[in-house]
Amino acid sequence: MKSLFLVSFLAPSAPVGSRPFSQHLTTKCFGKQLHFHSRCVLFSSYTCSATLSVVPDLQEKETFDGEKASLLLKDLRKTFNSGKTKSYEWRISQLEGIAKMLEEKEKEILDALNKDLSKPGLEGYISEVSQAKSSCSEALQELKHWMKPEKVKTSFTTLPSSAEIVSEPLGAVLVISTWNFPFLLSMDPVIGAISAGNAVVLKPSEIAPATSSLLANLIEGYLDNSAIRVVEGAIPETTALLEQKWDKILYTGSARVGRIVMAAAAKHLTPVILELGGKCPAVVDSDVNLQVTARRIIGGKWACNSGQACISVDYIITRKEFAPKLINALKEELKQFFGEDLMESKDMSRIVSPTQFSRLVKLLDEDKVSDKIVFGGQRDEMKLKIAPTIILDVPDDAMVMQEEIFGPIMPIITVENIEDSFGIIKSKPKPLAAYLFTNNEQLKKAYVENISSGGMLINDTVIHVATRGLPFGGVEESGMGCYHGKFSFDSFSHKKSVLYRSFDADSSLRFPPYTPEKEKLLKAIFSGNIIRIILTLLGWS
C-alpha cells in the first residue's frame, strides 16, 4: 500500500482530468515485488520517476484518502526531522529551483493560465509570473538577513543576561490554493514556506486543472520531492489532507471553506492563515482626475482576471451628480483597453467555470438588478464570457450587494455626501482591501482612520499587494494572518525566545525563605528605579 502510494505520487502527472498514475500497471507487473520491498521502492522511486514517466497512462484514478495522506506526511516529517530543510543552503537551492523553473517554463505557465481562465498572456505575466519571480528573488536576496537571530535588550530584572529571538521552521505545512490566480497563489506561499525551512504540501485548485497539473509536474521536476510535494484533487483529497496534523495551514479561498479549514485545524491545534476575500469598495470623490481614476479602477476590476480576484474592486461609491461622469469615463476607457466589442476582446479573462458563470448570471438577472444595468450585461455561455457590466444604484438587499461578486459586474452606489460612504462600508463585513480616490487630504485621513480592512490603497487599485514591505492579509471575514516577503517568512516560522544567563551574580532574592527585606528589594527592582534599589540595598528606604 505504502509503495503504491509513493509511486502514485512520484509519477509525473500531465493531462487535465486523468492523471497518468502508473501504479496500475506497476502493480500488475511487479505487484508482489513491490509489496515485499516497499522500503526499497520508497528510496528508489525518487530517482526512477523518469522511467516511470514513460509508462503509458493505463490507470484508473486512484483516490487519495486519509491513509495515503498520513503516509505522505510521515514521509515529509522524516525529511524534516533529518534537519535537511533547516539549512540555509537547502532553502537557497530550492528557491533557485523555483527561479529556474520560472525562467524556463514561463510559456508553459502562461499557456496553462490561458487554458484555465483565458487569461491574456501579458496579464498572466504581470499578475502571476512576475509576482512569483519578484517574491522568489526577494527571498533569495533577503533570506540570510531574515534568518539572522534578532538580538533584543534584556531588562534590569534579569541582568546579567543576553537575549535573542530565533526563527525556526514550524515543520510540515499545508498550502491550499485557489483558482483565480492559480499559479501565484500556489507559489507565493510555497516560497514563504521554503524560505522558513519547512516541508510543504501544495494542494492546487482543481477548478484550474491545467495549472494544477502543471504545478504538480514542475514542482516534481524542479524541487526536492522529499520535502516539497503537490497533491492534486478536489474535496475528498482536501478532506484527507485536513485530517492530518500539520504545523501550519495556509488557505486561500472563501470564508465558508475557511471556517471548515480552521475547524479541522482546531482538532490538532494547528495555526492557520486564512486569505479570504470580501466586498472591496472603491470610494470615488468628485475632485479626481477622471481619466486616471477610471483607468485604475478598470485595472483593478476587468483587467484583473475579469474581477475574479479577492482584492479586485467589488463596488464603487460616489456622489450622485458625479456618477454619470464616472460612468462615461469608465465606458470610454474600457473601449480604449478592450476595443469596441468587449465580448470579443482577447485581453480579458473569461469566467472560470460554468458554476461561477451561472452564479454571476443569477446576480445580474435578479429583478431588482436587471433594470439597473447601465452598461454591458451581455453574456456568452459557450465561451463563459460576461461583458464588463456596470449597474447603477441597486438596492442594498440585492444579492449583488450582499455577497462578494468575484466577476465583471460593477455596482455603483451613489450618495449625497462622500462621507456617507463610510456607513455603507462599515455596515458590511470588513473587506480585504479598501480603495479611495480623492485629492482631499482630510478625506484620506478620515478614510484611513475609520475604515477597517486588510489593506488600503489611496488613489489606485490592487498594486499595494505587489509592494515589498507591506503585509498582505485580511481581518475578520476577510481572513487572518498575513504573508508576502518577510511576512511570509515570519508566518511560516516559529519565533523562539532565547535567553542566555551566566552563573555569575546570582541573587538569592528570588528564592525562599522569603523575608520582608527580600520583598522590599524585589519591589524596588520591579519598579525599575535605580535610586530606590540602592536605597533599599543600603537599608535606607
Partner: protein, 486 residues
C-alpha cells in the same frame, strides 16, 4: 449574578457599540486605562495577596514576584511605549510606484475575549488585558472559576478602576465559557490546557475569530555535568526555584523534569534535598513558603501519578501528601518508567522526575521524541551543546543557565509552538497580538505607467519585465527604443 444567554447577548452588543463609538482608540483612553490598572494593582496589593493565599496558599513574596510585581512592570512598560507602538510604520516603496508612500497601521481588532487560568489567576488575566487595552480594544475577561477568590476580586475591583463601558469581567465555569463562545469575538486569547483549547478554537472557527493559545507541555531542564562545583550548586538552586518556586510546580513554564548524566545524578539528588531543606525547612507543610495544590481534583490527579507502583518505587525524596491542606511535599523521582503517566502527561505539580542519560547530548533526542514544550532550560557552559539545543530542538523558548526569568523579559515574545500553543504576547508582542496590521498605500493621481493596462502588446511585456527587475536603466533604454533584445 445570573449569567444567561440574554445577558451575554446584551453585554456583547453594548461592548460592540462602545467600540464603534471609537472611544477606545485614542491614546488618552489607552493611557488612562493603563494608569488606572497600575493604580488598581498598587492600591490592592494586600487584597491580591490575600486572594492568592486563599486560592493557592501563595506566599506574599511569591505573589509579588510572580503576579503583582510582574503586572506592575508590564503595565509600566506598556504605558511608556504605547504611543510609539501606535505610530504608523513607514515602509519603503519601490521607485517604480513613484510617487507613493506605504505604511503599516496598527488598528484595534474590536471586542476581545480573554480566558485566564487559575495558577497565576491575577497575572494571566491582567497581562493579556494590558495588551488588549494598549491596542485599543474592548475586553471581556473570564477568570478561572478554580481560583474563586481571585475571580471575584477581579470582578469586584476592575469596575471600580477601569472603564466599565469597555472592560468587563464575567465570572463562571464551563457553562459560562460555552455561552461566551457562542458569540462572535474579534479575538480570543486563551490560557489553559490543549484539551479545552481545541474547543475554543473550534468555536472560534465558526466566526473566523483568530485565537492565541497559551498552553503548556512538559518543559525539560537539561543539566550538564558542570565541572565547577559552585556552578553546579547554583544550577540546582535555580532548578529548585523553577520547579517548586512558581506555584508549587503548577506553572506552564515550570520545570517538568530534569535530564542529567547518570554519573552526576546522585550528586544532583543530594544537592536538591539540601536546597529544598534550606528553602522550605524540615517540614515544608509548615513553612507556608510553598503553594498548595489548587483543588481536590488536581490533588487526586497528582496522587494518582504517584500511585503507580513503579513510580512509587522511584521516589528518592518526599512523596508525602496531606489531603486536608491539599499539600504535596516537594518530591523527587529518579528514573521513573518512561511510559508511566508521570512521564507522558504534563505534571503540573511538585513532582520532579530525574531522567538519566549516558551522554548529555542524548537529551536532545529525548526531548524531540515528545511534543514541543513551552520552554526548555539548559544549564551548560558547552557552546556546542548550546548550539545543538538551539538548532535541533523546538520549543516556545530556550533559557540557558536559569529558569522562569524569560517570562519577565518584555522584549522577548512569550508563546508556544506545536502542542504548547500558538500566538505570542508580552510587551510589544501583546500589542501586536491584539492589533490588526493594516497595510496602507498612498498614490497620487498624476504620473501613470501605461503598460499596466490593456490592450496588451510586446512592448508592454518587455517594459514590465524590466520594471519588475527594478532595472531602471534598462527601462529607460527600452522607452527610448535603444534596448537590444536577444
Amino acid at each position: 449574578m445570573e449569567i444567561n444567554g440574554e445577558f451575554l447577548e446584551e453585554t456583547v452588543r453594548e461592548l460592540r457599540q462602545y467600540f464603534r463609538s471609537g472611544s477606545t482608540r485614542s491614546v488618552t483612553w489607552r493611557k488612562n486605562q493603563l494608569t488606572a490598572l497600575l493604580d488598581l494593582v498598587h492600591k490592592n496589593e494586600d487584597a491580591i495577596s490575600e486572594s492568592l493565599y486563599q486560592d493557592l496558599g501563595k506566599h506574599p513574596v511569591e505573589a509579588f514576584r510572580d503576579e503583582i510585581g510582574a503586572i506592575g512592570k508590564s503595565a509600566t512598560y506598556s504605558l511608556s511605549c504605547v504611543e510609539k507602538w501606535m505610530a504608523p510604520k513607514k515602509s519603503d516603496i519601490p521607485l517604480l510606484f513613484f510617487p507613493a508612500k506605504g505604511e503599516v497601521l496598527a488598528e484595534p481588532l474590536g471586542v476581545v475575549l480573554i480566558f485566564s487560568s487559575w495558577n497565576f489567576p491575577i497575572m494571566l488575566a491582567l497581562d493579556p488585558l494590558i495588551g488588549a487595552i494598549a491596542a485599543g480594544n474592548v475586553v471581556v475577561i473570564k477568570p478561572s472559576e478554580q481560583a474563586p477568590a481571585c475571580s471575584s476580586f477581579l470582578a469586584n475591583t476592575i469596575p471600580r478602576y477601569l472603564d466599565s463601558n469597555a472592560i468587563r469581567v464575567i465570572e463562571g465555569g464551563a457553562a459560562v465559557s460555552q455561552q461566551l463562545l457562542l458569540h462572535k469575538w474579534d479575538k480570543i486569547f486563551f490560557t489553559g490546557s490543549p484539551r479545552v483549547a481545541r474547543f475554543v478554537m473550534s468555536a472560534a472557527a465558526k466566526n473566523l475569530t483568530p485565537v492565541t493559545l497559551e498552553l503548556g507541555g512538559k518543559c525539560p531542564a537539561i543539566l550538564d555535568s558542570l565541572p565547577n562545583p559552585s556552578d553546579f550548586k547554583l544550577a540546582v538552586k535555580r532548578i529548585v526555584g523553577g520547579k517548586w518556586g512558581p506555584c508549587s510546580g503548577q506553572a506552564c513554564i515550570g520545570i517538568d523534569y530534569v535530564l542529567v548524566e547518570e554519573k552526576v545524578s546522585s550528586h544532583l539528588v543530594e544537592l536538591l534535598k539540601k536546597i529544598i531543606r534550606r528553602f522550605y525547612g524540615d517540614n515544608p507543610i509548615e513553612s507556608k513558603v510553598i503553594s498548595r495544590i489548587v483543588n481536590k481534583q488536581n490533588f487526586t490527579r497528582l496522587c494518582n501519578l504517584l500511585k503507580d507502583p513503579l513510580v512509587a518505587a522511584s521516589i528518592v525524596h518526599g512523596g508525602s501528601v496531606e489531603e486536608k491542606h491539599l499539600f504535596i511535599e516537594p518530591t523527587i523521582l529518579l528514573d521513573p518508567p518512561l511510559d508511566a503517566d508521570v512521564m507522558t502527561e504534563e505534571i503540573f505539580g511538585p513532582l520532579l522526575p530525574i531522567i538519566t542519560v549516558n551522554k548529555i547530548g542524548e537529551s536532545i533526542e529525548f526531548i524531540n521524541s515528545r511534543p514541543k514544550p513551552l520552554a526548555i532550560y539548559a544549564f551548560t557552559k558547552d557552546e556546542t551543546l548550546k548550539r545543538r539545543i538551539l538548532t535541533e530542538t523546538s520549543s516556545g523558548s530556550v533559557t540557558f543557565n536559569d529558569t522562569m526569568v524569560q517570562f519577565l523579559c518584555d522584549t522577548l515574545p512569550f508563546g508556544g509552538v506545536g502542542q504548547s500553543g500558538f500566538g505570542r504576547y508580552h510587551g510589544k508582542y501583546s500589542f501586536d497580538t491584539f492589533s490588526h496590521e493594516k497595510a496602507v498605500m498612498h498614490r497620487s493621481l498624476c504620473l501613470e505607467i501605461e503598460p499596466r493596462y490593456p490592450p496588451w502588446s510586446k512592448f508592454k511585456l518587455e517594459f514590465l519585465r524590466l520594471a519588475y527587475k527594478l532595472n531602471y536603466f534598462g527601462l529607460l533604454l527600452h522607452i527610448l527604443g535603444l534596448k537590444r533584445y536577444k
